[in-house]
Amino acid sequence: MGLQYLGLQQVNGPLIFLDHVQDVSFDEMVEIACDDGTKRMGRVVQIDGERAVIQVFEGTNALSLKNTRTRFLGKPMEMPLSKEVLGRVFSGAGKPIDGLGEIYASKSMDINGQPLNPVSRVYPRNYINTGISSIDALTTLIRGQKLPIFSGSGMPHNELAVQLVKQAKISEGDGKNFGIVFAAMGVKNDVADYFKRSFEEAGVMDRVVMFVNLANDPIIERILTPRCALTVAEYLAFEHDMHILVILTDITSYCEALREFSSSKGEIPGRKGYPGYLYSDLASLYERAGIVHGAKGSVTQIPILTMPNDDITHPIPDLTGYITEGQIVLDRNLHQMGVYPPVGVLPSLSRLMKDGIGEGYTRKDHSDVSNQLFACYAKVQDARSLASVIGEDELSDTDKKYMKFGSLFETYFLSQGFDSNRDICETLDLGWNLLSVLPREELDRVDDEVLDLYYDHDRAVTMFDLRDAAIIQEMKAAGR
């Protein structure tokens, strides 16, 4: 393939147009040599007869209609792979940027991947202990799951991600088969730095592969970043039997890059200017999580996205929620109250948890606790909204008990701090103790036999008496 094309027909945003090209294939890689000796990479995104439309990854800065030589490489974008990628740092387009040289590739794979055959998937069932009560008990993370964190600007999603990485436990093996692929898309310099430092401090850097596309890097590169990262993850998981946790942050930047790119191609926009294929595009990333028959490894994804204006109905969180298997939503009110991690319990959900908890995985009563906690906490919200209208004093006795339960739940259960790592049994027992604060007849989601086993109002009284005498005085005055 020695053929080079001199000059261009048109430059528009990140796109260049080339006429009279021959033998070009769709999605093929392109190398563009500039007069100053630098080289840029690009990709064919549309072909019309002899005209090819090429997106340039590094941006079209300083390209003119005559100062370039373009060469078609005859293959789609591939990522060189070997087990050496662990511990390395790459640019958003998959080039090493840590100064340690090129990867000696044992294999290279198309970064777009291929759709996983549903028949070959193994339904994820094994749970991951994160040591965070609100996640372990209420939105359990399952190996092979894609569970996004819906956050907002200014909320501690990065800390939460780091804590997850630090504490996530794979029960079998010595931890050697556990790795992290971290893709930063359009993140601020400080944030990328924070992650790197945290991984180093936690002593996990040799198990991490980092892809960094900073906020001021070209947007086309940003579109490639998650694909490169997932290709590495799939390679390590399915060819080297590793359990890979992929953290993608920030999906919002990725979607905005996609929108920018789509509008420069002149496509018809869908909702809020995002391209109509945003769903399919996000799905092509998220669906790359999973477990396949015959491989021992797994790919688990935690995409992090910041909801613009905390709006969960914005197209990005909305479409993400439709594809991913649940979501962990961070709540600004809790954050302002100083609760860390500020997991908004009610909108959070883990779809796969029902099959990965209970006897043989966590504990038999797990689903009972979590259902009842959800139901009771929902009633707390009702009581609170009522209290905000008529005042707390006017509430019925039951509602007052719910108010108390709510604040205890937030103080003892949700709030646990950045360094606290809670065992699953500890979390579940804590859940029962909190539920025992309420009158037994309020616990309508649980069979009587289970309640006989775990419900103990007196224990709750003593337990929270020890911690907070004032509360229990009120409890006693209020009823029993």
């Binding site: 033998d23 070009v24 294939s25 769709f26 999605d27 093929e28 549309q46 072909i47 019309d48 007869g49 002899e50 789609p76 777009n112 291929q114 759709p115 996983l116 055959n117 549903p118 028949v119 070959s120 998937r121 193994v122 339904y123 994820p124 799951q145 496509e267 869908g270 909702r271 109509g276 294929y277 769903y279 399919s280 799905a283 092509s284 669906e287 999973g290 491989a295 969960i312 109905t313 197209p315 909305d318 929620g321 298997e325 909108p347 959900l349 779809r351 796969l352 099959d355 689903s367 259902n371 139901a375 929902a378 009633k379 009522l386 209208v389 008529i390 509430l395 007849e441 309508d444 009587d448």
Partner: protein, 582 residues
């Protein structure tokens, strides 16, 4: 005639220049890899083809082959228990051939050509067969007998028949002499274009419910056999869960489950769960009556559009044999989005929210293929469609939900607030409706009890009244209400928690027979009647609440197992005694 070659490529849309060889909706093979595609527009200059597979690596100048026929599916034994992609390619076979990932251009036969089936011939030489008549039967699974029918528009005299025995898919077992003198060979399979409805003799009025054992469905918002229903709801409200429950428990003979643009793990879950689950009627695994069509969200978008039609065609084929078929389409919004995506690539003028202007007509064409039919062979069968809708931002005013609402007669609106409170099934009882209640009255009166719909009406009324009272409670709290209104709130709580809420993971509560549903309603209404008397006599509602009666009634769903329904009768005396003892 010159060879047809690719001129331009834009995502899944490929154009061929200056050709007159293609007809509308014809299937074509594109490129050297022979990717499957469909002609979607033709003009003098360009023929546009949407390709059902990824077009990466395709080049202009590669050949395009017309096939002369529209996209069709092969209909024959071996469909059940199988899992197909959107254009009827068996995913298991693809996995065996090419591993865990789906490569492009894999050409595999939809049905196993080599497998031998036990065929029992039902006709003799000299019989006159008309279209739709059954000429042989095959035990396809232990549950379902596969009936081979003369394809539509074909008839004639039987010229030759093979003996009963084992035959492969394409073996000729019957030869027909047509009135025109031609000879037609009938094998174990036939083909049918997916976008065309299979003909029937006539459409019959709807009269039988599709019983699912889900209380809120069977009692409050029933769907009929041959009916259509939509399940709209934001993410996390339990659409898929609801579809799974219906697929598991509804009393259709055959379930076609279309996973259209949804999660891969969900399809795996269906595969695994249905193999383990035993059908209560036949004691056989549920997979024996199930076909899965999986076009997950990361599979090519154009095939997603085709998948719902493939599912429909398979359903109609089994309906023609005289079966009741239920289609679960999860989710129709993804299908609509596939239409939008293709439409965008074609640079068509968009209507609302970027969806093409023909969206309503496509949706109506889809739902109108449901119905309770008298088939060509005079058997009766039905196709019911239950489509999930995933409205953007859980906003029911978006085009797909609104247009779906116009064409379905049963609407189960899922509610985020209920789902957050883990109240499943999260069907909102004030927004949902079913237009089938009137059509089904006769059936319920005859087969369950004339009380059933009366009870239903009372329960609906109570819930309606509660909704009004809750407006007041939200403003000033429940303490100020008079006791009779407090009772309504209390009884509605019993209805909500004890009746409407249903635990899909509880062995008894996951499926509730109609008789139990009826008696549960009877008990709740009896409790209401007696409580009202107590309050009318001047006693405070507190006595009633403290008696624990309401909690006991709420727990009926767990305390009375489905095979000990006689225990339900004790509750009436229990209520009477407790109230007498107050």
């Amino acid at each position: 005639m010159s060879e047809n070659v690719i001129y331009s490529i834009n995502g899944p849309v490929v154009k061929v220049k200056d050709t007159v060889d293609f007809s509308m909706l014809e299937m074509a093979y594109v490129g050297k890899k022979k990717l499957m595609g469909e002609v979607i527009s033709i003009d003098r200059e360009f023929t546009t083809i949407q390709v059902y597979e990824s077009t990466t690596g395709l080049k202009p100048g590669e050949p395009v082959y017309p096939t002369g026929s529209p996209i069709s599916v092969t209909l024959g034994p071996g469909i059940l228990r199988n899992i197909f992609d959107g254009v009827e390619r068996p995913l298991k076979t693809i996995a065996e051939a090419s591993g865990a990932f789906i490569p492009t251009g894999s050409n595999v036969d939809p049905l196993d050509k080599e497998k031998k089936w036990d065929v029992t011939i039902k006709v003799n030489v000299g019989d006159i067969l008309s279209e739709g008549m059954i000429y042989a039967v095959i035990p396809e699974t232990d549950l379902i007998e596969h009936r081979l029918m003369v394809p539509p528009k074909m008839h004639g005299e039987v010229l030759e028949v093979k003996k009963d025995g084992q035959y492969r898919l394409h073996d000729t077992i019957v030869k027909l002499k047509t009135p025109e003198g031609g000879i037609e060979e009938l094998s174990l399979c036939q083909r049918w274009p997916i976008k065309q409805a299979r003909p029937v003799k006539e459409r019959l009025p709807i009269s039988i419910p599709l019983v699912s054992g889900q209380r809120i469905v069977d009692t409050l918002f029933p769907i009929a056999k041959g009916g259509t229903a939509a399940v709209p709801g934001g993410f996390g409200t339990g659409k898929t869960m609801m579809q799974h429950q219906l697929a598991k428990w509804c009393d259709a003979d055959i379930i076609i489950y279309i996973g259209c643009g949804e999660r891969g793990n969900e399809m795996t879950q269906v595969l695994e769960e249905f193999t383990e689950l035993i059908d209560p009627k036949s004691q056989r695994p549920l997979t024996d009556r199930t076909v899965l069509i999986a076009n997950t969200s990361n599979m090519p978008v154009a095939a997603r559009e085709a998948s719902v039609y493939t599912g429909l065609t398979l359903a109609e084929y089994y309906r023609d044999m005289g079966y009741h078929v239920a289609i679960m389409a999860d989710s129709t919004s993804r299908w609509a989005e596939a239409l939008r995506e293709i439409s965008g690539r074609l640079e068509e003028m968009p209507a609302e929210e970027g969806f093409p202007a023909y969206l309503p007509s496509r949706i109506s064409q889809f739902y109108e293929r449901a119905g309770y039919m008298k088939n060509l062979n005079d058997s009766e069968g039905s196709v019911s469609i239950i489509g999930a809708v995933s409205p953007q931002g859980a906003d029911f005013s978006e085009p797909v939900t609104q247009n779906t609402k116009r064409f379905v007669r049963c609407f189960w609106a899922l509610d985020k607030a209920l789902a957050y409170a883990r109240h499943y099934a999260a069907v909102n009882w004030t927004q949902s409706y079913s237009e089938y209640v009137g059509d089904l009255t006769k059936w319920y009166n005859k087969n369950v009890s004339p009380r059933f719909l009366r009870d239903r009406q009372q329960i609906m009324a109570l819930l309606g009244e509660e909704a009004k009272l809750m407006e007041i409670v939200k403003l000033i709290g429940s303490d100020v209400l008079p006791d009779d209104q407090k009772l309504i709130i209390e009884i509605s709580r019993v209805i909500r928690v004890g009746f409407l809420q249903q635990n899909a993971f509880h062995k008894d509560d996951t499926y509730v027979p109609l008789q139990k549903q009826l008696r549960m309603m009877d008990i709740i209404l009896h409790l209401y009647k007696r409580s009202k008397e107590v309050i009318a006599s001047g006693k405070s509602i507190q006595y009633l609440i403290q008696s624990g009666l309401y909690e006991k009634v709420i727990k009926i769903k767990y305390d009375v197992s489905n095979d000990h329904l006689e225990k339900l009768e004790d509750y009436f005396t229990m209520i009477d005694e407790t109230i007498a003892g107050l």
